[in-house]
């Protein structure tokens, strides 16, 4: 009988322990599920937004409840209640972000884009994603890399970049796979090889965006551009370019090497090595006649 009582107590203890463990697992799952929803998070630039006195990495790691971060990269990852590549990352104070933006960030273990992902600066805010910050130890590494790299084969989720400056990288924005991307109201300059490069079967819409000075980066000597093209479509990528300016690029302003057409409208293409080039007669489709500036400099006519 005593032996049975010992077993019963042990059994009850085991049940209690198991229930506690199960509760913990369930609560963890609920938290995870909540985190993975398409929620907005805020990112501070070089001015404190939430008044906690923290900036940069200190803000990234402070807690999982404020949903305020100090780097864009942390805002896109999962830790501390961030978007986990499924939500909106909004920069809310002016600042320079010497980062490499990866969507998804496979180097950090984020293997896929989990939903619609938006990176934007709030209206009235300047977010400068820049390879160079004077005196920063990693300037060289960043200048040899792509600034914003988007690569997913999932076509049921869009990536939106809005109101960002992207500068001084090997390529400003590179879009791979079957990614669906909107680049809205962005400014790209001084990227060595390409301002924007779309490859694979991706689809890229570019609106109200300026792409200039691709191929011109002085560090302090001028880098060797390869080739220094403003906007480039390759492989089977397709897209639209509307209400934008492409100028002062070393090589081609707008180059379509894709098998697909690119739609172009109301866009100034001026003062590039060659303003527009395409691999076939159907490379470009006009939405309207308004796009044609009169300047005779290989403008699309």
């Amino acid at each position: 009988m005593e032996k049975f009582n010992i077993r019963k107590v042990t059994f009850l203890r085991l049940v209690t322990f198991a229930l506690i463990i199960a509760g913990l697992i369930l609560s963890t799952n609920f938290v995870k599920e909540d985190v993975s929803a398409n929620h907005p998070v805020l990112v501070e630039g070089e001015r404190d937004f939430d008044g906690d006195g923290r900036l940069g990495a200190d803000e990234d790691g402070d807690n999982a409840t404020d949903r305020v971060y100090g780097t864009i990269t942390a805002g896109l990852l999962a830790a501390n209640g961030a978007t986990n590549a499924n939500g909106q990352v909004i920069v809310v104070t002016n600042g320079r972000f010497p980062e490499l933006i990866r969507i998804p960030n496979t180097d950090a273990g984020q293997m896929t884009v989990n939903g619609v992902t938006i990176v934007e600066a709030a209206p009235g805010i300047m977010a400068d994603i820049d390879a160079v910050l004077a005196g920063n130890a990693n300037n060289g590494v960043r200048q040899a890399a792509v600034g914003v790299l988007i690569n997913t084969d999932l076509t049921d989720r869009a990536i939106i970049l809005r109101n960002l400056n992207i500068r001084n990288y090997l390529e400003g924005i590179q879009v791979l796979g079957a990614s669906r991307v909107l680049i809205d109201n962005c400014r790209l300059d001084s990227n060595l090889n390409f301002g924007i490069r779309a490859m694979g079967t991706s689809r890229v819409s570019i609106t109200k965006t300026t792409v200039q000075a691709s191929g011109m980066r002085f560090n302090p000597m001028m880098g060797t551009p390869g080739p220094g093209t403003g906007v480039r479509f390759e492989e089977q990528a397709r897209g639209t370019i509307v209400d934008s300016t492409i100028s002062g690029n070393t090589a081609t302003g707008l180059s379509n090497g894709s098998t697909q057409s690119v739609v172009l409208s109301r866009t100034t293409v001026f003062d590039n090595g060659t303003n527009v080039s395409g691999t076939s007669a159907s490379s470009f489709v006009k939405l309207s006649d308004e796009m044609t500036p009169e300047v005779e400099n290989d403008s699309l006519r």
Binding site: E46, R47, N94, R96, A121, P123, G124, I125, M126, D128, D130, V132, L133, A134, G135, N139, N163, N165, R167, N168, R187, D189, S190, T210, Q212, A213, M216, R217, F218, N219, P220, M222, D243, T245, S247, G248, R266, T268, F270, D271, S288, D289, E290, M291, T292, P293, E294, V295, E296, N297, S299
Partner: protein
Amino acid sequence: MNRITRFIVLASLILAFGFVATSWNTTDVAANHPLLVEGERDFDGDGLLGVDEDLDNASDQVFGTINASLGMANAGANQNGVAVVVTSGRFLETVRITGANGNVTLEAAPGVSAMVEAVRAGNAGNGDRQMRPGIIVDAPATRIVTIRNMISRNWTDGIQINGSSRVVIDNCRVENNTNFGIHVTGSSKVTISNSTVASSGFRSGAAPANNMPNPGIGIGFEGSSTGTVAFTTVSGSVAAGVSNTSSAGRKAVGILSVNAFDNNPNFNGIKPAKGTIPAVAAPSQDDPDNQ
């Protein structure tokens, strides 16, 4: 060689290494890096503004005047980088952009009002500034200069572009400049978009300022310059709104969706493209709608 001598030699080597390393760091500073410029409100919370902010240190990379941010001292851009105005303010200075060492961008952050302004009530330098251009660009053809979201007012030329400069002017407002709003000369190439050029040739003020328009053109292309003007408003100029006298001929200047109105004339030497708002005839007394 005794121990003391060895120690001195070793110390000298360490000092020399440190000096070289510091020099390398200086070279790094010359890269095309971004800088912040405060207007009339403190951004970094150090309580400094203007020249005091220019001179405080070389590590914050925050400045109080535009010219200091473009210079070399205190880790400025050294004419190779981006100067971003991050709080609103009036800048009583002629800005000189040479692009001597690389691409230069001068911009105000979205939502920030950055006025390169010749006049501030009671300021001793008003008369002198009103006889000069506000922003002068004279850069090599291998550089791109960008001026974005800036305001230039009350100068002889709001923005003057010389030599073989290649310039992008985006989302700027240029007004009340006596001679030209935007003056493009030499063999420069200029892309103008989303901007407003108003009241060129109209400036009022007390002596010693000479307010006579000469000639009072909104956007003028001269020399052998070329360019495009798109999605821009040019209005209320004493002389022509957009004028092209470039030796490159009539096709030197491309026009796309430009609202040119109330200039004299609206276009000179330019064939407006489709989408451009044409000249509107003055109201006729015979028109019953005007009676």
